[in-house]
């Protein structure tokens, strides 16, 4: 591991640089292909609405992938993430327009563990709502 962040420089409460991600329909199409998740609710508005969704929604895994970038960009070494878990609380609705959805992610260290590990809690919001809960990454520092 060669993380940019040293264990001794981190304290409970240390904030990670926040980031904002735009999500467009094209991103979901690319993600469907790259991940192999072709669930129609992520690209077909007609079927998404027919099953009671407000519109096409982002893959939860796409949101999860974006959120952890706050951690991996902070660390430099993405391999220093040793555990990552989230609960998906609200869908990220991605309208078919030029704006798409906007995902805002922030994070802070909530715990320091032995073996130079730290726990980061992430907050992710889109459309005025919290879209992830219990979003936590455990990172191995030096």
């Amino acid at each position: 591991m060669a993380a940019n962040v040293r264990y001794d420089d981190v304290r409970v409460g240390t904030e990670l640089p926040a980031q904002t991600f735009e999500i467009h329909r094209l991103d979901l199409v690319k993600y469907a292909g790259a991940s192999g998740d072709f669930n129609v609710i992520h690209w077909n508005e007609r079927i998404a609405k027919s099953v009671g969704l407000p519109d096409v929604i982002a893959h939860g895994m796409y949101t999860m992938a974006q959120a952890v970038r706050v951690v991996t960009d902070w660390l430099g070494d993405p391999g220093a993430v040793v555990d990552y878990s989230v609960r998906f609380t609200r869908p990220v609705v991605v309208p078919d327009d030029d704006t798409g959805a906007v995902l805002e992610v922030s994070g802070a260290v909530i715990e320091k563990r032995e073996d130079k590990q730290a726990v980061v809690e992430l907050l992710a919001r889109a459309g005025g709502a919290k879209v992830l809960a219990k979003a936590r990454a455990v990172v191995q520092l030096e």
């Binding site: 993600y31 292909g33 998740d37 391999g79 998906f88 609380t89």
Partner: protein
């Protein structure tokens, strides 16, 4: 529409190896818009101590979800995939997935339950190399929403 409870505890034999290529990692990193050099550049990955480019943390879903599809798309489970949203996901890594890995997955159905009319299934994928080195454990909870519910 309850899911077939006979699946609880069912474990599947190891999947055919999934060979992780640099191109697939590149495609995945590009799809999530992440240009971290550890995903794209062997030298940058090498400077971090890795023998080849590594995959983004959530790349493991491409491997584990493919393996879990043998459960999810089994007609006798009774899951309507168009009603499925992701409920929870966790990954515990022994090391990052990297190019050149030959990964095999043992899938177990950890739990099936119903809450507020939603059918919920949790699968666990133990992802290892064909040589038996553990790489990551993926826990996925999928929710099949009740017909009258809005998405969550």
């Amino acid at each position: 529409m309850a899911l077939n409870p006979v699946f609880v505890g069912k474990q599947y034999p190891p999947t055919e190896p999934y060979e992780v290529s640099r191109e697939k990692i590149h495609e995945f990193a590009t799809a999530i818009g992440d240009s971290n050099p550890a995903y794209l550049d062997r030298e940058a990955a090498g400077a971090l101590g890795y023998p080849d480019v590594i995959a983004p943390p959530t790349f493991a879903i491409a491997v584990s979800a493919r393996a879990a599809s043998q459960v999810i798309f089994d007609p006798s489970l009774g899951l309507d995939y168009s009603r499925v949203v992701h409920g929870e996901q966790s990954f515990s890594y022994t090391r990052p997935v990297r190019a050149g890995d030959q990964l095999t997955v043992v899938v177990t159905v950890d739990n099936i339950r119903t809450a507020a009319g939603n059918d919920i299934i949790t699968t666990r994928g133990e992802v290892s190399t064909v040589d038996g080195e553990h790489v990551v454990t993926a826990l996925s909870t999928l929710v099949s929403r009740a017909p009258d519910s809005a998405g969550s």
